[in-house]
Every structure is written in C-alpha cells, then in structure tokens.
C-alpha cells in the first residue's frame, strides 16, 4: 500500500522548512536562557536543593542574574572560580547558597579557562554513555510498532504499580505524564513525589525510581520497556539532561507545543529546545513532537496540512541540533471526527502521507482524544479504528487510546483494555496493507495529494513571513502568540562575547565525529 506522491513537492517542502528553521537558528545562536545555564550546571554535576528547597542550579543562576552578568554564562563564572579556589561545582553552588562566595568577585577581563570544566563534564558524559550502552544491549529486543501508554496517577509509587501492570500486558513504552502546571515552574522539583494533578512531577528521583522498576520488569518480561517524560516547559533542557542521565528513552520535546498551549515565550523555548535536542541526540533519546495537539483545538480535516507543515519544520529544527532522523518522533493524531463520512479513509490518507514523507522517522501516532465521550463502548470502537490505521500505515510509536479518555486519567484496567485492543488489531491486520493497493484518483489518493499541496502552500507563506509572524497569526491550533509576550521571556538573554556553552560544543563535536 503506497501513495503515489510528487516528490518534487516534497523536496520543496523540505527546502522551505530548512529556510524557516535557519531564520530561527540565527536568533537561537545569539541567545541563551536561564534554563540553558541551569542545564550546564547540572551537566557539571550540580544536584540537590538547599535548605529552602531551592535547587542549587537555580540558586547559582539567580545569584549570577542578580549580582553578576548572566550574559557571560555560568561556564565563564565556574571556570573562573575553579581556577582560583579548586572547588567542585557542587561545592561552589553550596557556597553561593550559603553566601560565602559571590561570583561577581570573579568577573575579570581575562578569558576563562573553560577546560577546567572538562573533568566534571566528562563524569556526566560517561554516565550518559554508560546509559546508552545499557540501552543498546537491550535494544535488539525492541519490536516495532511500539505500544505506548501513559501513567498519570500523580503518585510515583502508584505510577510504578500501573506501569508494571501495563508492561506485563504488553506495553513497550511507559510515559509518566506530568502534573498540570509543572511546565510553568522555572525550576525542577526535587525528590520522590506523591502529589500531582493529572500527572506526576518530573523529578530526577522519580525518573530513577521508575527507570529502576522498568528495568526489573524488562528483565522478567525479557523485553526492554522504554520510559518517557516531558522535556518541555520552562525547564526543557534541564529535563533533557536529567533524562539523559537517568536513561529515559524518549522525551516529548516541542517548542511549538509550549508556545501555543502553555503560552511560553517563543524565543525562550526555541533556545531551550535547541539545547535539549542536542542533549537528546547525544544521549540517543527519541524526541516526540506535538503536532497532534493542533487537532485537539482545530478540526482534523480542515487543518490536516498544518500538521504536515509543522512536521517538516520540526524535522529541520532537529537536524540543526545534529539529531539523526531515527530519533525524530514526529507527531500526528487520529483526531478525525467520527461523524464525518469516510472518516477512516481520510485518516488513512493523512497517516500514510506522514509515513511516506518521513520514512526514517519513528512517527508518534496519537489516538482519538477530542472526539472521545463518556460512551466507553463508542470509545472502544474509535480506538479500534485508530489501532487499525496505525497498523496498516505502519506507525512506530503507537500511543494507545483509552476508552475513558473523556472521563479520567487512565485506570489500570483502561490500559489493559487498550493493550488488548492494539494487540488484537496488530494480529488481525498484520499483512493487510501488503494485500491492497490504493487506487489512483480514489478518495484516499486525492485527499493525500490535497493535504500535501496545502502544506506546501503554508510552508511557502511561513518562509516568506517567518515563523514568529505565523505564530502571531494563529496558524497552528488557532492560537495566536506574540514574540514579546509569554512566560519565561525574562529568562532569555543575549550572549556576551565571552559566553561559552562547553556542553553543547562538546556534544556537537562528538555527534559530528560520530563518537558519542
């Protein structure tokens, strides 16, 4: 089963998207953010919170912001202090918290000896490399498509119970959904947590606890179970680093989601995203983009092309971060209205189009959510169609739909029903796609061509106006956002001349050499 596409149009789309991403990259390269700086600190080994429960990485960055010059970057100051005091980064952070060190005192015209940071970075990098090696050992067992379910009890210990049950019923990927509102926090909470709403706090300890539980169940099930969290919100790159260190396997990571749905400032999140994608590329963590969300507010039929256009842009953003296509979990969703005539055929056109446009990307396919209702039987049917569409268009990361989507975050039994549904469809439709051809000129064929053409037109427009303008116009999800508004803008700064980000430099170098 293949669509016959005009690959000249496809190439033109890619070229447009490359130009669009390059325009943004120019801005990115000139800026850093408080989150980026905190991430560098984490990579240097700074961890933990002070007596007021403030993470030391925040203590340091806030200190620099208020007393020194953040535009020079944390690496500048830490290199200077280490040169003089021979303290570990952690010790420096603690000293700052205790106010026994003032970084302003270390400001000086000499160039900092950034190399002094290398041993600390190497420790963390070694840890990440060890995690990659562990993952690789298992990876051979990984099967496609991968069944992805969420846990969202708000309590990491209940999440673990739920995750184990899901893994035993055949889930390949467990995503721990994050508590509502965490993305707006400009720090990462600390320790094991049991009190989230609609999700559980993303903390390094929670990552560790869940990874440990999944490693155990991977052993008993003899199948590697992947762990997912969100590198999004105001701490996007920090969480990417935490995920790299704790062996998360996948990260939701998409500025556009934050801009549109969380009102995060666009400059802030583009800069943060670039760093987090470099880290994820280095750590071989698959990212998931959020195009699916557009269709939760805009109609899936009318706005299908916005998803495709955004996928092209996200692909180029990932490329700029040296990310290989095999880590680009571009998102889309079965949000077609079930009341639409020929809904299934239209959806197949769309899903197969994504599949063919990004043949090497592990596409992330989201289930029906918007059109789910309290009718759990109807919901089961909707999920069945979604599962069929996923199998026959060969999606990779297959998020399972919950029959109670419109009611509550999933119960343990909801997930089991979802897994049964997907398993059944995989079996029943195993070779179905291979037995059929899509007729040229048919509804599916024409629909796919229309969507591709519309995406091309949209990309042309965006290329001309720039992505900032597009976001202001509300092209994606019908939500309009301004460059000068949104959360986290005050954490964005222009880099000084002396600014250096040794983490990014080292990682990019390693990615380029292919030694990572």
């Amino acid at each position: 089963m293949k669509l016959i596409l005009d690959y000249n149009i496809v190439e033109a789309c890619r070229k447009d998207a490359e130009i669009i991403a390059s325009q943004i990259q120019t801005m990115i390269d000139q800026h850093s953010t408080v989150a980026v700086e905190r991430t560098i600190l984490r990579m240097l080994g700074i961890d933990g919170v002070n007596e007021f429960d403030i993470p030391y990485v925040n203590v340091v960055v806030d200190h620099i912001k208020s007393t020194a010059d953040i535009r020079k970057g944390v690496a500048y100051y830490l290199a200077k202090v280490i040169e003089k005091e021979n303290l570990t980064p952690q010790a420096i952070a603690e000293a700052i918290s205790k106010k026994t060190i003032n970084l302003a005192d270390y400001d000086s015209p000499e160039k900092p000896n950034i190399e002094l940071l290398t041993p600390h970075l190497e420790t963390t990098e070694a840890q990440i490399r060890a995690q990659k090696a562990t993952r690789k050992q298992w990876q051979k067992e990984t099967q496609f498509p991968e069944k992805y379910v969420i846990v969202a009890t708000g309590n990491i210990y209940e999440d673990i119970e739920q995750a184990i049950s899901a893994a035993k019923k055949g889930a390949d990927i467990i995503a721990v959904i994050r508590t509502t509102g965490q993305s707006l926090l400009d720090y990462v909470p600390h320790g094991a947590t049991t009190e989230g709403f609609g999700g559980t706090y993303a903390t390094q300890e929670n990552f560790r606890l869940m990874r440990k539980a999944l490693d155990e169940v991977s052993k008993t099930e003899n199948r590697y179970i992947k762990l997912v969290n969100y590198a999004s919100g105001l701490c996007m790159p920090e969480i990417a680093a935490m995920g790299a260190i704790e062996r998360l396997d996948m990260m939701l990571n998409d500025s556009l989601y934050g801009i549109i749905f969380r009102d995060i400032n666009m400059k802030r999140t583009f800069v943060d995203q670039y760093f987090s994608r470099v880290i994820s590329a280095y750590a071989e963590i698959t990212i998931n983009t959020g195009e699916d969300n557009y269709l939760t507010t805009s109609d899936a039929f009318d706005h299908a092309h916005t998803v495709i256009a955004s996928q092209f842009i996200n692909e180029q953003f990932a490329k700029k971060a040296s990310m290989p296509e095999t880590l680009m979990g571009l998102g889309h969703a079965y949000e077609i209205d079930p009341n639409l005539e020929n809904s299934f055929s239209y959806e197949i056109a769309q899903a197969q189009l994504s599949r063919q446009l990004f043949p090497n990307a592990p596409l992330k396919y989201m289930p029906p959510t918007k059109h789910m209702t309290g009718d759990i039987f109807q919901g089961t049917m909707q999920n069945t169609l979604f599962n069929i569409a996923s199998v026959i268009t060969q999606q990779n990361i297959h998020l399972l739909g919950m029959l109670t989507e419109a009611i509550h975050t999933p119960f343990m039994s909801d997930r089991a029903i979802a897994l049964n549904n997907a398993n059944y469809m995989y079996k029943a439709f195993k070779d179905f796609a291979a037995t059929i051809d899509i007729k040229e000129g048919s509804l599916i064929d024409q629909r796919a061509k229309t969507v591709l053409n519309e995406a091309k037109q949209l990309l042309d427009t965006i290329r001309e106006e720039g992505l900032f303008k597009t976001l202001e116009k509300g092209t994606f999800a019908g939500v309009s956002r301004k460059e000068t508004q949104g959360k986290g803008l005050d954490g964005v700064f222009k880099k000084a001349n002396v600014y250096q980000n040794p983490v990014i430099d080292r990682m990019l170098a390693s990615l380029k050499e292919g030694t990572s």
């Binding site: 969202a152 009890t153 739920q162 309290g374």
Partner: protein
Amino acid sequence: MSRFIRPYGDTMNDGKVQLSFTLPVENNAHGEACAKAYAETLKIHDVAVVHAETLSEEYTFFVVYGTASEQLDPSTIKATEVESDVMDKAEIEAFIEKNFNRTLTFIGASTGTDAHTVGIDAIMNMKGYSGHYGLERYKHINAINLGSQVDNEALLEAAIEHQADVILISQTVTQKDVHIQNLTAFIELLEAENKRDDFIVIIGGARISHHLAKELGYDAGFGPKKFAFHVASFAVQALLEKEKNV
C-alpha cells in the same frame, strides 16, 4: 491474614467502579438525576453519569463511574471449588488401573431442549477442546455421548442400561433459569427412582459453577476453561471414595 480491600482505579482502595444500566426514564436532567440516585442506592458515591443514551422515549441507558466505599476482607471469602487433586490424562489412566478392576463408563448429554453440544463434546469427544483430549481418548474410560436434546428420562434410562459410573449433563441455555428447572427435575427423577447413589452426577456449562452444582444436589459442576482431565480427575476420585464407603 486479614486485610480490607476495595476496587482499584489508580490508587490503592480508591473504590473506583464502572456501572451501566438502563432505566425506564426519559433522557433529560431528571433522568440523569435518577441514574445518579440509583447508583447511590447501590452504595456508590461521587457518582459521575458520564453517558446517557436514549433507547426510546421511556428508556435511557447510562454509563456511570463512581466510588464504592464498601470494603471486603478477602480472607473471609471461600470459593466453592472442586476439592479433588487435578491429575493429567496419564495419571488418571494409572489411577483407574490401580484402583478399579474395570473400565469406567461415563455417559453424557445436553439435556432438555438444549441443542448446544459443543460444551459436552469438548469434554467427551476424542478431539477434546483447546488442546486437551476428550474422555473418549482415555484408556479405561468408556465415553458415551448421547448428544443434545436428550430428555431427563431418556438419559437415566441409558445410564441404567449401560451401567454407567458417571453421568455428565451439559446445560447452556439459562434464560429464565430454564437450566435450574431442568437440572432440578433430573435430581428429583433420580431420587424418585431411588438411583441417586448409583452414579456420580456432574454438570457443566458456561453458566454452571461448582457452587451451583452443590446447591442443586450434584456431585460437581464445571464451567468455562474446564477440560476432560479436570472432570475425570474429580470423577475417578469421587468414585473411589464412593466405592470405599459401600
């Protein structure tokens, strides 16, 4: 160990349950309020009527989620289970060889107007079911399957004629408890004819449990996912027991 449990949604003992039912009410706010109130009579609180569907002017179907606060101590619950050891085919054959000096006769039927034979065939016929051979294939067992729609009287007659050791009865149709009527009638017939002690009498079917069988006066009952070896394991041990007591 005694502990108390409640249903589990996503947090231990959160009591989450799902219900669905139809009420003879209109589909409107009042109907929904009735659904909520009805769920409350079933000791469900925090009731969310998540779906209401018109079936006709006077009937509405509801899907409801809520919290059941009743708790249960699992250690107080006893499952009525067949108590004999479960043996496999070879062990059963060896058991018969060791304990009986004869071939055992099992006679079976789907009785009354019940035309469902797949269940009784699953237990009795050569081929068996789900990869478990049927009694016909067992050494030292003579399996006679009378098929379906067999009258109680005809079954008893045949059992007497073949000097059966074990009688197997299958009942699949249960609407309006027709199976209970039919099974009760057979026990009454056995007793009327003074034959209750001549046979081990076993029943089975999709809605048959051991519990029900005992209540009705049968020796054992087997439901779904029970196969010939389960039935034979019980039967040969029960027979031995019975013959010892004679």
